[in-house]
């Protein structure tokens, strides 16, 4: 029997940041990883990418470097991101 439960956070105050569609699986999809490309984080994101492919069935991983380290992604990358199924962004890394 279903139940309705409520969000205990402020989540609902930023509807512009709600995902348009919920994903039900990453199997066969394309995921973009956007980081600031710092050398030290590359091996981490390599392992992260491997895990997405091996365990979650992600078909394609696109790696991009952003210029503004404190924001999720540049406008140019956001344009490209419309072709992806999901975006993972390194913040402050």
């Amino acid at each position: 029997m279903t139940i309705d439960v409520l969000d205990p956070t402020h989540g609902e105050e930023h509807p512009e940041l709600q995902p348009v569609d919920r994903l039900t699986s990453l199997d066969g999809l394309t995921v973009g990883i956007v980081s600031n490309g710092k050398q030290g984080t590359r091996p981490f994101f390599d392992a992260f990418e491997r895990e997405l492919r091996d365990t979650y069935g992600v078909a394609e991983v696109v790696r991009r470097t952003k210029t503004n380290y404190s924001a999720p992604a540049d406008p140019e990358i956001m344009d490209e991101a419309t072709e992806w199924s999901a975006l993972v962004s390194g913040i402050g890394d």
Binding site: L23, L26, T41, F44
Partner: protein, 74 residues
């Protein structure tokens, strides 16, 4: 984000442990409400086994956010 609409399900990864709390707030203030997972430091000096472990944990948490569901594996 400047209020730009995200057309793609997204999640952030915070990888620095030494970021001061106020600075951390500054990062996310650029995109209020943007969901993120935190990965333990250090990243750059971690050995391969530790990196893999952290990457797996981060991937699981990111996937949970993206799917909006309890953790599952395919």
């Amino acid at each position: 984000m400047n209020g730009e609409r995200l057309s793609v399900p997204s999640v952030g990864i915070m990888t620095s442990a030494f970021v001061d709390a106020a600075e951390l707030m500054g990062h996310v203030l650029g995109a209020p409400g943007f969901p993120f997972v935190v990965v333990e430091h250090p990243i750059s000096s971690a050995d391969a086994a530790m990196l893999t472990e952290r990457a797996e944990k981060a991937a699981a948490e990111c996937v949970a956010v993206l799917l909006g569901q309890p953790l599952t594996r395919s």
